[in-house]
């Protein structure tokens, strides 16, 4: 159990401890820790309050009494169901396409790999609305590829449930790729070599050795991508529109409800907050201790 020790050491530094590196020994004999200097402590507390206050307000103003009724209304149920289905589908798409992409970025060397990697991460920083517009131009009825999709296969993506999945996957996949690529880089590639000396092709080595080894990273990346897909708003409303039962996901429903039925909006927000906390709890070991 090295992590508590590491966290302590970090806390020590935060508490103004010296950095001679003999923290544990000094701490063992020392009394109460010295406080943080005020110029740091004050903004830190304000910052913390700033992050927490909106969430507290959400809980304070929540219509707890009418909550069961709100959450079981057909509209909410419909949006929740659609959100869960599309987010899961988008995660599945991200897995199928993203894991091989992560492998390619982590395990092979080709000209322009750094550039490709930058392109993959672009949706992370791109405003989602812009992503939605770009998707329309690519896959819309008159889009670069969409035109051809419609004439050749009769497939239309915009303003359909499939379009929601596309928009969500576009935004969520980079999270998965980055997470899996990081895990792959940390995993010892010599296990793949060992598998190859035993007669495994490169694909077999990936499937039977690498994949199980990086499973925790894939799981974390999937949860992250799923959470991102669940909260997707900008790209979805731009590319797929806002049709109840077809493309109206939870975030869209929240935004719409806020104008007509604030209580319902709060109820829906609570659900999304609960999901977010659950995701955070699920990733606790990976992310919260990694920072310490």
């Amino acid at each position: 159990m090295t992590q508590p020790g590491k966290a302590d050491a970090a806390a020590d530094v935060l508490a103004g401890g010296d950095t001679r590196g003999d923290g544990p020994r000094r701490r063992a004999g020392a009394g109460p820790r010295r406080g943080a200097p005020l110029p740091l402590l004050l903004p830190a507390l304000v910052g913390l309050a700033f992050l927490l206050l909106p969430l507290v307000a959400l809980l304070v103003r929540a219509p707890w009494a009418g909550l069961p009724e709100q959450l079981t209304s057909p509209e909410v149920w419909q949006a929740l169901q659609l959100s869960l289905i599309t987010a899961t589908a988008a995660t599945a798409v991200s897995l199928v396409l993203g894991v091989p992409l992560a492998w390619l970025l982590a395990r092979t060397d080709f000209p322009g790999r750094g550039f490709v990697r930058a392109l993959v991460t672009l949706p992370l920083v791109l405003p989602p609305v812009v992503g939605g517009v770009a998707l329309l131009l690519a896959l819309g009825r008159n889009g670069v590829v969409g035109q051809w999709l419609e004439s050749a296969f009769g497939i239309t993506l915009p303003f359909t449930t499939a379009g929601v999945v596309v928009a969500e996957a576009f935004v969520a996949m980079p999270f998965l790729v980055i997470s899996v690529e990081g895990t792959l880089r940390a995993a010892d590639p010599r296990y793949e070599e060992a598998a190859m000396t035993l007669g495994a092709s490169r694909f077999t080595a990936f499937r039977r050795v690498t994949l199980p080894l990086i499973a925790p990273g894939i799981a974390a990346g999937s949860v992250l991508a799923w959470a991102r897909a669940l909260g997707e708003f900008g790209a979805t409303i731009t590319f797929a529109g806002n049709f109840p039962g077809r493309t109206q996901t939870m975030p869209l429903a929240v935004y719409l409800a806020l104008q007509s039925d604030p209580a319902a909006a709060i109820a829906l927000s609570l659900v999304l907050l609960a999901v977010s906390i659950a995701v955070l709890a699920g990733l606790r070991d990976r992310w919260m201790t990694a920072a310490s």
């Binding site: 190859m196 000396t197 490169r202």
Partner: protein
């Protein structure tokens, strides 16, 4: 059969089956018939390993010729960075050969054969057992990749583990195995694909001193049973001499000496080997019983030679004196200075500088009587009878 040993069928005792568990662990007669009775497409010289490993990587150049007959255990011995591991990777196909390299195994050219199709088993330095698989499934991995049905592959793996004395640990994950056990699982895993060439990278380096002794003896037995070519890489001369029939000493990517362990121990040709086997080694020009060293004084030897020679003598052959000895029968006398002292058990190894740099062994008592300390002047004598000269 000689070109694709990996493709050995599941039925019938083919030539590759010689070392397969079904033929009974340790049954030497089977192994012998296995290597001898197969449909032999080539002459006897086609059997075994014939390689010239050429690898250029940046400023590092490896050029090592390696030949071995079936049943041979060859050790690549050399200091760190000499290119031993690169040579091993080239044999396994993990590092491609550069221009001028070639690799033939049992008469078949493997230069362009991908790693997974080579009949080559590798025991990696830190074993690289798959952490998510049990010991049994680690060993069954190779046969499974060769298309052996799951139940059969696991039965073979169980036989291998049994042979290694690990039947009780078949279900254990690698992290629960001791270093010695992991080493044997790694060996079983490499042997389970019935390789025609077995490669071992520093097979004992990851073990502590006590386990090492035991595992070395076991490994020696298993290698003696192995009927195809085994090549091991090590920087430990003891491992090399215990495990191998033949040593190939590699320095700076080149073979500097090759021979049986005893030959190399008696006739080292570089400082590195001399240090490894604990000898003082000098190079010079011989004229009769006198050798004029390239750097330094003359040494009188018993051998009567001419031309360039090596002269070697063990540190224990050196006698130290505080004052210039008179009436000594020793033919070789040099004035030296103590450079450093090191304790080896109840012996002290003195590192001497001066006229002739050399290492001398003496007892702690003698060291105390001589009042040896760094910087102290001493006289060193060596009897001609204890030196050994041989042509360079």
């Amino acid at each position: 059969m000689t070109d694709t040993p990996r493709a050995a069928g599941e039925e019938g005792p083919g030539p590759d089956k010689g070392y397969a568990p079904e033929s009974g662990p340790g049954s030497d007669s089977d192994a012998d018939s296995g290597s001898g009775s197969g449909p032999d497409s080539g002459s006897g010289s086609d059997k075994g390993l014939d390689a010239r490993l050429v690898v250029h990587r940046g400023s590092f150049h490896l050029d090592v010729a390696l030949t071995a007959a079936p049943g041979d255990v060859v050790a690549l011995l050399g200091p760190n960075g000499a290119g031993k591991t690169t040579a091993l990777r080239a044999l396994a196909g993990l590092t491609p050969l550069s221009e001028g390299g070639r690799l033939r195994l049992d008469g078949a050219a493997l230069d362009r054969t991908p790693t997974e199709s080579r009949p080559v088993g590798v025991v990696f330095q830190d074993y690289l057992l798959f952490p998510h698989l049990s010991a049994l499934d680690n060993v069954a991995f190779g046969p499974r990749c060769q298309g052996v049905p799951k139940a059969r592959a696991r039965a073979q793996a169980a036989a291998w583990l049994d042979r290694m004395g690990l039947a009780d640990h078949a279900g254990a994950k690698p992290r629960r195995l001791s270093g010695g056990q992991a080493q044997r699982v790694a060996l079983a895993r490499a042997l389970a694909i019935r390789p025609r060439l077995l490669l071992l990278d520093e097979p004992l380096a990851a073990l502590d001193a006590r386990t090492r002794l035991e595992v070395r003896a076991q490994l020696r037995r298993h290698l003696a049973d192995f009927e195809a070519v085994a090549v091991l890489v090590t920087h430990d001369p003891l491992d090399a001499m215990v495990l191998a029939d033949r040593l190939v000493v590699v320095e700076h990517g080149r073979v500097v000496q090759e021979g049986t362990p005893s030959d190399i121990a008696r006739h080292p040709r570089t400082d590195y080997i001399a240090q490894l086997v604990g000898l003082n080694l000098y190079r010079g020009q011989a004229e009769g019983h006198t050798v004029r060293l390239d750097a330094g004084p003359e040494i009188t030897t018993t051998e009567d030679l001419g031309g360039p020679v090596f002269v070697a003598f063990p540190p224990s052959a050196v006698t130290l004196h505080r004052d210039r000895p008179t009436g000594s029968s020793a033919r070789n006398l040099w004035q030296c200075r103590v450079g450093g002292l090191e304790t080896h058990g109840d012996q002290i190894r003195a590192d001497l500088t001066g006229e002739l740099p050399l290492a001398a062994d003496l007892t702690t008592v003698a060291a105390a009587e001589l009042d040896l300390r760094p910087g102290a002047p001493v006289w060193a004598t060596v009897k001609a009878a204890q030196t050994h000269a041989y042509p360079a």
